[in-house]
């Protein structure tokens, strides 16, 4: 049924730290590997070893360059910026590189679900995970058109739409060690930039992380109310200040007596 369920108190999702992500693509590879053989697989590729390989990945890691200084004036005055915080002070003096893993945000108001004509797309009432029943999908691709986050990729080989399952076949899998009952991307991350948990519970570890780091979801103006959150990059140290020759100066008279004596001895 493509009508959305009543909002559930449990909202499972990911929290992705853009500060610590190093853009290694391990999450994307681990995702592809698990889901190729998981309950929603396979994820076949067209022309996998040829000139133009093409296939479904649930997770894509972009890399962006954020230029120094304040953002350029917007082309239209009405433009709304995702997190409205006036964090002009956080603008990096030297510019920065941000790695941005992009996958399904398991929206609360998931338009990809409501546009589905067959009932193949659905949002689980119990935990809010958005899934595709690949036995019902007719491959009309309308759900991919409805998603602003590019979370859905169509399998040319299978003729159906595929998407992130939040590793629903791992997180409830009792044959796995409890520590392993997390999405494959979270377990694979070498810098622990990915966190999994219940974002509907304000006391959960992920919710506290979001509150402490001002986690956000992009494109709130479109109104899909994503569950996943991104933690913004922390303000970078000002590289220009470190390179300042004035910082090299030091006042020998302020050293402890022993070091002052050593300094005098060595300065002869």
């Amino acid at each position: 049924m493509t009508a959305l369920p009543l909002p559930s108190p449990r909202k499972l999702g990911l929290v992705i730290d853009l500060d610590t992500c190093v853009g290694c693509h391990a999450c994307a590879v681990a995702c592809k590997e698990w889901n190729e053989q998981g309950a929603f697989g396979p994820l076949p590729d067209q022309d996998p070893y040829g000139a133009e390989p093409l296939g479904v990945w649930f997770n894509r890691v972009h890399t962006y360059e954020v230029a120094a200084g304040n953002p350029l004036p917007p082309p239209t005055p009405a433009r709304a910026i995702a997190p409205a915080a006036s964090a002009a002070a956080a603008a990096p003096a030297q510019g920065m590189t941000v790695h941005f893993p992009r996958s399904c945000l398991h929206c609360e108001d998931a338009a990809c679900v409501t546009v589905c004509p067959t009932g193949a797309s659905y949002k689980r009432a119990s935990d809010g995970i958005v899934l595709v029943d690949e036995d019902k999908c007719i491959g009309c691709k309308l759900c991919a058109w409805a998603c602003p986050y590019g979370a859905r990729e169509y399998s040319e080989v299978r003729g159906v739409m595929q998407k992130c399952t939040l590793c629903v076949d791992r997180i409830y899998n009792e044959s796995l060690d409890p520590a392993d009952r997390q999405p494959a991307c979270v377990l694979a991350c070498p810098t622990r930039a990915r966190h999994f948990g219940d974002l509907g519970d304000p006391g959960s570890e992920v919710s506290r992380l979001v509150a402490a780091r001002e986690g956000y979801a992009p494109l709130p103006e479109l109104g899909y109310r994503p569950v996943n959150r991104y933690l913004p990059p922390r303000p970078r140290r000002d590289g220009a200040a470190a390179a300042d020759p004035a910082a090299e100066r030091f006042d020998a008279s302020r050293l402890p007596p022993l070091l002052r004596w050593a300094d005098r001895l060595l300065s002869r």
Partner: protein, 309 residues
Amino acid sequence: MHPALSVVVFTTLSGAGLGVLFLAALLQSLAPLPLSRELAVAPVAVGAALLVAGLGSAFFHLGRPGRAWRAFSQWRTSWLSREAVAATATLGAGAAMAACMWIAPGGTGATTAAIILAGCSVATVYATACIYTSLRTIPAWHNAWVAPTFLLAAGLSGAAVFWLLLSFAFWRPGRAEGLVFALAAVGFALAKVGYWRHIDRHGAKLDTGAVTGLARFGSVRPAEAPHTEANFLLREMGFVLARRHARRLRPCAVVLCGVAPAVGGLLAFAGLGGTAVAATATLSLLAGLLVERWLFFAQARHVVVAYYR
């Protein structure tokens, strides 16, 4: 958006077919033409054939056509499902009207079926338009211009095909019909120009900084792509050809589906609405609608493209 030929052809052909069915139903319920039953039923058959051809074209756009029957189930939330239901109801009502016209011409059965058919055909075109207008991810579709232009395009192309069909029976449009057709063609062309002005101003507001939420840190530019080859998103949403050709194709569309049919309508107004004029106006209009519908897809920019460029 990638202009899939099957969808461009589907929306154009089914629109024309639904326009023919709507006009046939309107005439049947208000003022049936003094025609033999074979000639009266012919436009219904042609309208239904155009609609079926369009549906068949969309059918092949699906990844799993064998499961298409499932698309009738989610009419509570999905405009695509509503379109499927409305199109099927239209075919049913058309068949019922044709049967009544054949068995009992002038009876109340035909009038009742005609009223239902008129409603169903308008509902189908409206549902088709709403598939596009409901997508907040595509500003070029999510606006108030789309539904009226879809309805007008269907009515106009339906009228042209209807005129052509009746011209084979030596029917000639009167001064009023000619004038209304010419005005509708001009109105449609003006509506398209208004639509294009709208999308040029409000086309793509969300840039890379907005879609990543990083705009508050500075101007954001993609440094490295997430994949070296294309993917589904770039093939389906990242269509760039149109921006290069729109400047030429827009005037083409205006001439083919605005100016030429309007001249045809004026010739009909002057009493020269014969088969040759009708055929020229119809072919020009359908060709223009294909160009216009191709641009409708090709010029629509999806928000997700901003993650890439």
